[in-house]
């Protein structure tokens, strides 16, 4: 809204003052939210960094174990053991709130099953295949946790960006525009006041001059 587009009336001035006050308090609150989100983001980023390292190391370990299992037991035996598996991991999604922002909460169920509940025989299934299965279960658990943290981090980044834009808009556009409008309305009102005074003086002067 351009400053000169407003109607210079007292009620508009009062409204502008109210809006400036509201915007300034909103700006203050949003700034606090932005700072809070940034602090939260750094905490989550730290967790995400550790989690990424965990995913990388778990992945390497799982790949090494499956390579050894395939090498020692053979591709056929490992593939056959995979066909015997009956447990299906389930992922449950819920949500949590960080400073009013909804973040996902991912919980996985029955990822790790012990050797007696996997579906294949205990005696004949080699320890190499079993260890590879356990390593991949661990990798999946880490991935589920990493998915939660990475999504939270991305959402936090989006929210920080959005809040930053709002803070900047309030700080550099909305509040200055409102203040400019306020100044304009004040100036126009004062000018109108002065015009009125002059007009009154004129009228008074005309009355005093004898015809």
């Amino acid at each position: 809204m351009a400053a000169h587009d407003v109607t210079p009336t007292r009620s508009v001035l009062l409204d502008l003052k109210r809006r400036i006050k509201l915007s300034q308090s909103g700006h203050r609150i949003l700034k606090m939210k932005r700072d809070g989100l940034i602090i939260e983001f750094f905490e989550v980023m730290d967790k995400a960094r550790k989690m990424r390292a965990g995913v990388a190391s778990d992945f390497q370990l799982a790949m090494k174990k499956i390579t050894i299992a395939r090498a020692v037991d053979g591709e056929v035996a490992v593939r056959s053991a995979a066909y015997a598996l009956k447990s299906h991991p389930e992922v449950r999604l819920s949500s949590a709130s960080i400073m009013g922002m909804v973040v996902p909460k991912v919980e996985a169920e029955s990822i790790h099953t012990d050797i007696t509940s996997k579906g294949y025989g205990v005696i004949h299934t080699s320890a190499y295949t079993e260890e590879a299965a356990a390593a991949f279960e661990k990798l999946l658990e880490t991935l589920v946790r990493a998915a939660e943290i990475e999504t939270t981090m991305k959402k936090l980044l989006d929210e920080i960006e959005k809040t930053k834009r709002r803070v900047n808009a309030l700080e550099f556009k909305i509040v200055p525009d409102l203040q400019e409008s306020e100044r304009f309305v004040k100036f126009r009102l004062e000018e109108m006041e002065r015009e009125n005074t002059t007009r009154l003086k004129h009228l008074k002067g005309k009355e005093e001059v004898p015809e």
Partner: protein, 349 residues
Amino acid sequence: MFQRSGKGNYAYTSARAKAKKSRLLKEEDYSKMLMMSVPEISHYISEAGYSKEMTELGNRYTGLSLVEYATYANMAVAFRSILKASTGELRNMVEAYLSEWDFTNLEVILRGKNYGLPVEEIREDLVPAGRLDMDDLDDLVAAPGVEETLDLFASKTGVRVSDEAVAAYRNDRMLKDIEDELAKTFYRNLLLSVGTTTQANRIFRTYLERVVDAQNVETLLKLKVERIGGEEAMKYFIPGGQEVDEKTYAQIAAAADVVSAGNEMQGLKIHNEIKGALTDNASVLDVVAAIDRYNAELANSVAHMYPLSVIPVVDYMIHKRNEARNIRMIAHGVDSGLDVETMKGLLVI
């Protein structure tokens, strides 16, 4: 199992087995292969007795798959030729020893059927190295379901799975009880097939009893990694071992973890072989690798005792199996970039 009478052609079969054993790859061959790429390994084994299988399978598979399927096919041909050459009591023992492959193939078929795999894919993974040839296995693959397959297997081999195991399968569609029962049946039949009339047979039987011990120890270690003990662990006990009887098994099963279980094994002969791997931060794989080496040494220690007996025949089959395992392991290891030291540790020579 269907028993044959008569002593058996020990001289002929053991001579064939020894001749075949002399043509197996040596330690230096594996050292060379560790430095090769997968195509070079394929070429190398083609010149070391695998050419027929490599050529036959070359139009269907390439690279690692070709090496894997060719080694299985070659081993199957070698084992079946020994089986066909043997007669009488010897054949009963060889058949019982090789029936492990029948059980393995049955497992592959059951798992494939339970998963819903197409017949062709199940067929690809079969290794006809046991008593059942490819035609028999095709019949099993063609059976409509798991229970029909088990019935057909029973009619072909005489091995019937208990009603409890089948009922458990019907209940949760898991094959674990059936598989564990089949594994126990294999060891029971194998021990039953070996008479104790000759000194050679008694040595072979002692060897098998120690293999059963090793299998029980390995099962216990796998369970202890998950801290499973008590009644649950007892379900997987294989009777017939030399040292690990039900009481010893129960004692080890009662241990809290892998290291404690290792301590419980102190009185066993196998403990000497695996104690190095039983450290606080040991992986069960190190222990299992030690058990594999123990089994190989066990076979080597009795191999030369009775030249005209079942021992050299089984010794050849163990070495042939290890050869196929080693080639496959090196090919996979090289392809996946496993370091040479790890591969050397996994070699069974």
